[in-house]
């Protein structure tokens, strides 16, 4: 038995832990001998696990153009993520992947003006794409990022947004938080409303990710503004165990989110039964 | 009987006493009967069935159904009324929202026992004066009625309805049952023999959870075996230990609450005699803490939530019977 099996993981070492928000940390993962454990495309996911604690699917938040390491922005919300939040640098984890499709950065999205809309931890999968297109700037049109969170403290990657994205030419970043707070002079309000206020040009291609309720209202708002369903991409999550469309958990209609997703164009999503 | 039940149900639906009826629905074959909720006279006419195969205890459905709008009519066999009483006692059902019509009990038939005789292709089963006349695709077969009786009916403990709003037919009495015979037989074996017996039975377990899910005493909102934090939420018995553990814990969780309705053994696809575990607890409780029949009333304290200062010590286990 010397064939590889995708269910048998690799070892990854956590080489850096960044505290993003009170409940989100970003973990840097490298192979024990240095470098990345495997290559991926923006939007793909990986199965991270602590043996004996659990295994779960996380989107890879670093860009494939980063050749040294992978990053995962993880919100504390369950058994495994609590454990991950409590660990220190140097901890080994197991990692397998990459799983799923990716945002079509090399095909449909090429040459397009891009609008990223994210809410809360929903920035994690989009950050991979944003940094990818920033690194391959010549292949894409304008970039606009609309990002909102509960409060200023809950904005993931705030430092990177301020220091890198906002200083980039041709990248427009619009931030919003749910409620007014001291030390915040930016926009206050929910993402879907902010999108409508900003009234982005309808020739942009939209990539949206966030809590289901935010996605729902954002999509409705975009439709009002004149966007069509084929212009909008989103990324999904369901419970997963295998990552390769066999264990049956993330099945919606004839699609498996782990294999056929997690990235779906909105019109494709509409063809699936409403069970996510 | 079926006719009388349908008429009763139609009458109670028509006069507005109830808005729904829980009963049994006819299937594809002679024996595959599904518990169902009927809402109209037409549905009752078409599909309601009561015969030798309507053995399912429908009282557990009342946990859900009694909380819905409108009163629900339920037909309960004597054994099923014990389950309902126990559920009432544990505040799992809204008894005021239930209209119980007591109906005569079994003995009901076990299709598996007929099939175990090698009879296949069954198209109809008729009881002709306690001989079963079984029509099959390969000709007619016969077998004695009592050889096909469900285990739970063969050791019936009571023909008495312990709760009802109305009865169809006469009420019966509690019976001298032989239900502890097999438990006693096992108790008289050596420890090694008992171990071998249970190993051969429990090793068949596929952890389908049918015993748990059908059990009227298992009504926890979130079962310990489904709770990832319990550490025992396994979906399959990965080791012989887990087979033992699952059934010990399950029986323990219903000890003193199990009315001995026998549904666990009836639904077990592997024919594991699970009721023996429950009966062992019942027998122990009866002999150590005084006769107790779960579901016989709605007020008494359950044996495991009760005590007396002069209860026997646990060492009694070491002192009696065969090693």
């Amino acid at each position: 038995m010397n064939t590889n099996d995708t269910l048998i993981p690799h070892i990854g070492v956590v080489t850096d832990i960044r505290i993003d928000t009170p409940d989100v940390k970003t973990f840097r993962v490298e192979a024990p001998e240095g470098g990345k454990v495997f290559e991926h495309m923006p939007g793909q996911c990986a199965m991270l696990s602590i043996p004996g604690v659990g295994e779960a699917m996380f989107s890879i938040t670093s860009s494939p153009t980063n050749k040294e390491f992978m990053e995962f922005s993880i919100k504390k919300c369950g058994c495994l993520t609590n454990w991950l939040h409590a660990m220190d640098v140097g901890q080994m984890i197991t990692i397998r992947g990459p799983y799923g499709n990716a945002f079509p950065v090399e095909t449909e999205l090429k040459g397009k003006d891009l609008l990223f809309i994210a809410g809360g931890i929903g920035l994690a999968p989009l950050r991979s794409v944003i940094n990818y297109v920033r690194d391959k700037r010549e292949n894409y049109g304008s970039i606009q990022v609309i990002y909102g969170s509960r409060s200023k403290d809950d904005l993931v990657d705030y430092k990177e947004i301020l220091d890198e994205w906002m200083t980039d030419d041709g990248v427009e970043v619009d931030l919003t938080i749910d409620n007014a707070q001291e030390g915040w002079d930016g926009h206050v309000g929910f993402v879907p409303n902010y999108v409508k206020e900003l009234n982005p040009s309808t020739n942009k291609t939209v990539l949206v990710c966030g809590p289901p309720i935010m996605i729902k209202f954002t999509l409705a708002g975009l439709k009002e503004l004149g966007f069509t369903e084929t212009q909008v991409y989103t990324t999904m999550e369901l419970r997963m165990k295998c990552g390769v469309g066999k264990c049956g958990r993330c099945n919606i209609g004839n699609k498996y989110v782990c294999k056929d997703g997690p990235v779906f164009r909105y019109d494709q999503l509409g063809e699936l039964p409403d069970e996510y | 009987m079926q006719e009388a039940m349908i008429n009763k149900a139609k009458q109670l639906l028509a006069d507005g006493t109830v808005s729904r009826v829980i009963g049994w629905k006819r299937g594809e074959f002679a024996y595959d009967i599904t518990p169902a909720v009927f809402e109209t006279a037409e549905e009752l006419e078409k599909d309601f069935v009561f015969d030798d195969f309507t053995s399912a205890n429908v009282s557990k459905y009342l946990v859900k159904e009694s909380k819905k709008e409108g009163k629900v009519l339920v037909f309960l066999k004597p054994c099923d009324t014990y389950s309902l009483n126990q559920l009432t006692k544990e505040h799992r059902v809204d008894r005021d929202n239930i209209y119980v019509v007591g109906i005569p009990g079994g003995p009901k038939l076990d299709i598996e026992k007929i099939k175990a005789k090698g009879i296949t292709g069954i198209t109809s089963v008729k009881n002709d004066n306690f001989t079963l006349k079984i029509e099959t695709l390969y000709g007619e077969e016969t077998m004695p009625f009592y050889e096909a009786v469900l285990d739970k009916c063969a050791s019936c403990k009571s023909k008495k309805h312990v709760t009802y709003d109305e009865l169809i037919g006469e009420d019966g009495d509690t019976l001298e049952s032989n239900r502890f015979d097999m438990v006693e037989q096992l108790e008289n074996m050596t420890s090694q023999e008992r171990y071998d017996f249970w190993r051969s039975e429990l090793s068949k377990c596929i952890r389908c959870n049918a015993c748990r899910n059908v059990c009227p005493a298992c009504t926890c909102e979130n079962c310990v075996f489904d709770n990832p934090a319990s550490g025992i939420d396994n979906k399959a018995p990965a080791d012989s230990f887990e087979e033992n553990m699952f059934h010990i814990i399950r029986a323990f969780h219903v000890a003193g609450r199990c009315t001995d309705c026998g549904e666990c053994s009836r639904v077990c696809p592997q024919h594991i005699p699970l009721h023996l575990l429950n009966r062992k607890f019942i027998k122990d409780i009866n002999s150590l803490y005084g006769e107790y029949q779960a579901g016989a009333d709605t007020t008494s304290r359950a044996p495991l939530t009760d005590y007396t200062a002069d209860d026997c010590e646990a060492s009694i286990v070491h002192e009696r019977g065969v090693e």
Binding site: - | R194, D196, S230, G231, D239, F241, N244, L304
Partner: protein
Amino acid sequence: MQVNDNKEFQPLIVAFCCNWCSYAGADLSGTNRLNYPTNVKIIRVPCSCRVNPMFILRAFQKGADGVILCGCHPGDCHYTSGNYFTRRRMTLLFSMLDFLGIERDRTRVEWVSAAEGAKFAATMNEFTEAVKKLGPNRRLEDLRCRKQ
């Protein structure tokens, strides 16, 4: 690897001790320098009543050869009645284990007060001997946990 057959079997005993009486009793037996086997692993519980059947089974699963539960004497429970419930529960559980063919001498309940250091040590010695006679737990073990 050479297997040392001469090495005498030392059973692993798990002792659940209630915080108020038996744990203090164990403590006392220690301060009195009384001997009991080192293979007795004490798990302190707030009351003997805290021990649910799963604890006992889990101990066997993870390698215990015998499980003993110690609590306050009946009538002396810190919480008035905890040990009375324990008594019924454990009687039924042990009876069930016996019914399944698990050797009955692998389980025991003993009431040990805070003043009974000597009784604690004697109970542990005696229980360990009884379990030793039975040999390793094979009927209620999880094969996955057996050390190779």
